[in-house]
Amino acid sequence: MDLFPRSLRTLALVGAAAAALSACAHQAPPPVVPPGPPPAPPPPPAEPYQPPMSQPTGPIPGSVKDFVVSAGDRIYFGTNESTISPEGGAILDAQAQWLQRYPQVTVRIEGNADERGTREYNLALGARRAQAVKDYLAAHGVAASRITTISYGKEKPIDPGTGEEAWAHNRNGHTTITAGAVGGGSNEGAE
């Protein structure tokens, strides 16, 4: 009955440098949402995407960047909601078309929640959001076998702020390309 056995000491790995949480480059901010029908959730406040002027030819077709720029890799949800809004549906339509064009690409849908809920419930809520995105893509021609889902709950916010604007950003479903894009790479951890 050791209280603090030697084996525990060897496992007490101290070290704040956790390589696994590094993020990729900043991606397109959430799009401006036009005035929608009444049931639409509040749009995430954001600036419109500005196409990079220095690249008149645009991203390489089929690349991760092409997916992010031409389709958009993140949709937003209302508080405690997991239904796809019309704005989110438009982005998912573009994702589905893009994914049909590049059938070798596989994706992981990551469901995220804001911090205004408790950890375990929000993990389940994020899973429900990820599933809603997967179901939508599958219903629009993307084979379900190409799509995995995960929930990060409120563990991986993209906006560190406090308040409605930050929380709106953090309630989202993110589509991460896991393999098959032209030129390789991934938009993992993209914000």
Partner: protein, 444 residues
């Protein structure tokens, strides 16, 4: 350091039979000093805890620190009011001589603890202490403990537990551990490690390296095993980690599904947890010996945060099957599911008290979070905290105190304690971000 080898038999706690103890039959006795912890309002008992004496500079220093730890424990409990040592006439007492009671009465000390630290020939620390009823001039406790000198804080916690029990009639909760999630770094790149520390925030150590997000660690009733959830970029798994052996095992085989929100059954033989498939989260029971699994709920909804009643017969959990997150109770075989929370707002993270008399939970009303307690049938709900974000209560082993995590915008996340009455809020002095606390049983 804290990770010293220390066997359960290392602590020797025995009643002292030392000459010079006061007579027990005074002609006229005042009302014996005691603390009634069930009264509506608590009058904290004034108690004097001078530095324990030593036999050399090292033991004198340890004696002073032990007195400080005992004083801090008893003061935080809310049932005692440790008196300012600068008012003491006798600065350090000889445990073999009766205290000079009149000088302690002068500063209105109702109880007095004196003690002495010394080193045995084999290097072990020996601490003798006595608890005195100042007004009656009687000894209430006379005990000695021995242990390795580097565990002097545990000696102090055991002394505080003995005093708490003698004065309140209930077990203490000071010689206990907290498992929790240590949080570091900015919100968008937070590192979350499994950590363990003493109940008062001392001696933290870290059990994972931060590569994965650690969530909701909980003790088994034997205080040697922890279950927790581990979130990586593409999986969520539940583990059991044995502190004694360092061995870590995955709980259950749920291929392609997320597993999280685990908790031991009271006998330690099973784990209740949440398994998410196709967007639905349901509760399962995993037998740790056979590996067999039993599905407890089958619902197109969220069912999570299971917590057993102390007798193992029931499970309280969180579900939004009725449209919003509320608290439900069922038999631990999944039958007789019924809702018990009916207040406004959203209820999550229910946890059954170790005495079985109450269920604590998180409740969100508007943009305010509360810790609440209610009877197991949902009646008698009381709101005991309110803030921007209070979450995830855990019970002290005596069912008198709750610890929870509180986020204050701009100031990060800290652990706090509060009496089940709602009084006596204290921040746990762990020097960093911390969430998801779980209280151990009293250590052996």
């Amino acid at each position: 350091m804290r990770l010293t080898k220390l066997t359960a038999s290392a602590f020797i706690l025995g009643a002292l039979l030392v000459g010079g103890a006061p007579g027990l039959t005074p002609a006229v006795r005042a009302q014996p000093v005691e603390v009634d912890i069930n009264k509506g309002t608590i009058q904290p008992l004034p108690i004097a805890i001078p530095a324990f004496s030593g036999t050399d500079p090292k033991t004198t220093e340890l004696g002073a620190q032990i007195a400080q730890v005992v004083s801090a424990d008893l003061g935080r409990s809310g049932f005692f009011r440790p008196l300012d040592p600068s008012t003491f006439v006798e600065k350090s007492l000889n445990v073999n001589i009766n205290p000079n009671f009149p000088v302690w009465k002068q500063i209105n000390a109702q109880a007095l603890i004196d003690g002495q630290a010394s080193l045995d020939a084999d290097g072990r620390l020996r601490v003798v202490f006595r608890l005195w009823d100042v007004f009656n001039g009687t000894q209430l406790i006379g005990t000695e403990l021995t242990a390795s000198p580097d565990t002097y804080r545990r000696i102090a916690h055991k002394i505080a537990d003995a005093v708490y029990k003698r004065m309140t009639g209930e077990d203490g909760y000071f010689d206990t551990h907290i498992v929790f999630v240590a949080e570091a770094g900015p919100k968008t790149h937070r590192v979350k490690r499994l950590a363990i520390m003493d109940q008062d925030g001392a001696n933290p150590s870290y059990l994972t390296d931060g590569a994965h997000v650690i969530m909701t660690p909980r003790f088994a009733s034997n205080d040697q095993e922890i279950t927790y959830s581990d979130l990586s970029r593409d999986a969520a798994k539940v583990y059991v980690f044995n502190i004694e052996t360092g061995r870590r095992e995955t709980v259950g085989q749920f291929a392609g599904a997320m597993a999280f929100a685990s908790r031991f059954s009271p006998d330690g033989s099973k784990i209740a947890l949440t398994v998410e498939r196709n967007g639905d989260s349901n509760l399962y029971l995993v037998d740790l010996h056979s590996g067999g699994t039993q599905k407890l709920t089958a619902d197109r909804a969220i069912n999570t945060s299971p917590s057993f009643s102390p007798d193992g017969g029931k499970i309280v959990f969180n579900s939004d099957r009725g449209g919003s997150p509320q608290i439900y109770v069922m038999n631990s075989d999944g039958t007789n599911i019924h809702r018990i929370s009916f207040g406004s707002g959203r209820y999550t993270t229910p946890v059954w008290s170790p005495k079985g008399d109450l269920i604590a939970a998180t409740r969100q009303t508007g943009n305010t979070f509360h810790i609440v307690v209610m009877n197991p049938d949902g009646s008698g709900e009381r709101v005991i905290t309110s803030s921007f974000l209070d979450e995830g209560p855990t019970w002290a082993p005596n069912g008198r105190v709750l610890m929870f995590s509180r986020e204050t915008p701009g100031a990060g996340q800290r652990l706090w304690t509060v009496d089940v009455s709602g009084r006596n809020e204290h921040e746990v002095p762990y020097p960093g971000g911390a969430t998801d606390p779980a209280w151990s049983p009293l250590l052996k």
